[in-house]
């Protein structure tokens, strides 16, 4: 076998291991899906009133917001998983094997991406039950979900890097969460940004979470009424801006992570 096919098959072994973990410890998958479903229900019924005047009601705008928030948390999940492997010395063992230097991190990000598929499907069903009805074509809806997966995947690479440098699973999970949680609220995900102080509005406008939410709203066939404060580039072209952010994140963190992995020192 050539070294390229080896790299791919090695990465798939790592991905398979992650799926086996989910079978052995199903709590992880259950928690990972219950939490966003709970958010769907809470926001849908607590803030449902915000939707006055929105065609189809608040839930139409809420669902893209929660989808994006959920995939954003992939960063923390990946970081925690890798830091755990560092702690356990597993990364050392992987590094002592004759496998390619990208296999472990490739496998991990792929595994976290697959987990996102499951979570998004469950959330989509929950959303449908509480009244979410995308109005666009199937092709556009699929594109929306692919964009969400791709966003989670790009963030997963930031998580890889964070996990490899931190070496402490609990700390890195908490730090990643502290970093991403405000990002998901300083955005147009759950409420209009127009009520925020001006500087925050600008921040929210350019926040990748906002551009992602605007992009998915657009792809699911809804006019993004939350937060068109200025006719800025990101609010006019959310899909392009989001893709740009993802490409930049991956261009930075993929090589950084692979380099870091090569010299990862578990102590």
């Amino acid at each position: 076998m050539s070294s390229v096919t080896h790299s791919v098959s090695d990465a798939l072994v790592i991905t398979k291991r992650q799926l086996q973990q989910l079978v052995r410890v199903p709590e992880v998958l259950i928690f990972n899906t219950i939490q966003p479903v709970m958010f769907v229900l809470l926001f849908r019924y607590v803030f449902g009133g915000l939707g006055a005047g929105i065609p189809g009601g608040y839930v139409q705008l809420l669902m893209p917001g929660i989808f994006v928030q959920t995939v954003t948390f992939t960063l923390a999940a990946t970081a925690q998983g890798l830091a755990q492997d560092m702690e356990k010395g597993l990364i050392d063992r992987f590094r002592s094997l004759p496998i390619s230097r990208s296999a472990v991190v490739m496998g991990r990000t792929l595994g976290d991406g697959l987990l996102n598929i499951v979570v998004l499907v469950v959330m989509g069903v929950a959303g449908y039950i509480v009244g979410w009805r995308p109005t666009s074509s199937l092709l556009h809806i699929a594109a929306g979900f692919i964009l969400l997966l791709f966003f989670g995947y790009a963030l997963s690479w930031c998580g890889v890097f964070a996990g490899l440098i931190s070496k402490d699973a609990r700390v890195v999970a908490n730090v990643s969460f502290l970093f991403t949680f405000p990002l998901t609220f300083l955005s147009n995900a759950f409420a209009s940004t127009t009520t925020m102080p001006k500087p925050l509005q600008y921040f929210a406008e350019w926040n990748p979470v906002s551009t992602m939410v605007a992009a998915t709203r657009q792809l699911f066939g809804f006019h993004n009424t939350f937060g068109v404060t200025a006719h800025s580039y990101p609010s006019e072209h959310p899909i392009v801006t989001s893709l740009f952010y993802m490409v930049v994140l991956m261009a930075i963190f993929m090589p950084l992570s692979v380099r870091r992995y090569k010299s990862a020192n578990s102590r």
Binding site: M1, H6, S9, D10, V13, K16, R17, Q20, Q21, R24, V25, E87, K88, G89, L90, D92, R93, F94, R95, S96, L97, P98, I99, A103, S263, N265, R267
Partner: protein
């Protein structure tokens, strides 16, 4: 090519020359011009207290860590220039079992087999063989987190043997195990050695190096301070000692007998009522002493002919006991205290 590997007429499977590795901008010298070699098919015990540089040595030789300077080959391959080729021929079992705790023993072995590029079928066959070899078949389908410390270490060792490595590195294979776990591990290692594997093993336990290794290097503060067979090292410290414990009232009489037979001075530990003296003639001296004491109607409470332990070796080479080194090393800033790690 093979001719390059021949030194002193013997094949060297591992050669390390003047390895240096420093941390904290040179403040901590983990390896300080360390050189060692392992002859093919033999076991080298790297013996040293906590912080001596054992793990750092293993990490350099197993390509996990680049040395600041010096060079090393494993199976004739340079660890820095061609790490991937080295990884093809080595097995490594680190100081702490490195397994996926949520998966079963079986899952772990099959996964590592696949990562060594065995086919699915080959990986399963090999996993089955190894589980049998290490008496883990009954627990094969339990998650690792339910394993005892000894079982974990055995499975970790099994994982490092998947492709029958030419050279095996074991970093403190029995640290943290209870006596039974240690005995089981020794048996496993001894059977591997009989099978002809080349092994570099580190340990803090003097007895362990004595039991398992053909040759021993004693390291302290990143330097080799002694090397030789276990017997050679002991000879360096002195020969055998006779130790005898008697009733308080008999100490002086017994001492006179012993000193006459040993032909030299003795030391007395009044508290333990123990007299000890170096002897040349070993068992003959012992018999002679027993006869004479019997004639004097002195009944020894305890009587032993002791070969010096490797602890004594350490004491005589460094001037301090191995344990002291641990204490002085604990002064250095180190992250070792974290978690359950010892």
């Amino acid at each position: 090519m093979l001719a390059l590997l021949v030194y002193d007429g013997a094949m060297k499977s591992v050669v390390a020359e003047n390895l240096v590795k420093t941390y904290r901008n040179g403040q901590v010298k983990a390896l300080d011009n360390l050189s060692l070699d392992v002859e093919e098919g033999t076991v080298l015990g790297v013996l040293g207290p906590n912080g001596a540089g054992k793990t750092t040595t293993v990490r350099v030789l197993s390509t996990l860590l680049k040395p600041d300077s010096g060079h090393a080959t494993v199976g004739g391959i340079d660890v820095v220039k061609d790490p991937k080729a080295v990884r093809e021929i080595i097995g490594l079992s680190g100081q702490y079992a490195a397994l996926d705790e949520t998966l079963t023993g079986w899952d772990n072995l099959v996964m590592f087999g696949r990562l060594y590029h065995l086919s699915g079928e080959q990986a399963r066959v090999r996993a089955k063989e190894l589980l049998e070899q290490f008496s883990l078949t009954d627990s094969a389908h339990r998650p690792i987190k339910t394993f005892s410390g000894g079982m974990r270490r055995r499975l970790d060792l099994a994982a490092s043997l998947i492709v029958r490595p030419k050279v095996l590195f074991l970093d403190e294979p029995t640290t943290g195990l209870d006596p039974r776990g240690r005995m089981e591990m020794w048996e496993v290692i001894q059977s591997l050695v009989k099978g002809g594997v080349t092994l570099l093993l580190t340990t803090q336990y003097l007895e362990e190096a004595d039991q398992l290794a053909d040759d021993i290097v004693v390291i302290d503060r990143g330097q080799v301070i002694a090397r030789g067979s276990s017997d050679q090292l002991k000879a360096e410290v002195g020969g055998e000692r006779l130790e005898i414990v008697v009733e308080e009232s008999d100490i002086n009489a017994a001492r006179a007998v012993i000193e006459r037979i040993a032909g030299g001075s003795s030391t007395v530990d009044q508290g333990l009522r123990k007299i000890s003296a170096p002897v040349r003639a070993g068992t003959d001296s012992l018999i002679e002493v027993v006869r004479e004491l019997d004639a004097l109607k002195i009944h020894p409470l305890d009587l032993a002919l002791k070969r010096p332990s490797l602890d004594d070796v350490f004491m005589s080479i460094t001037g301090h006991a191995a344990e002291e080194a641990v204490v002085s090393n604990a002064d250095q800033p180190s992250k070792k205290k974290k978690g359950g790690r010892k």
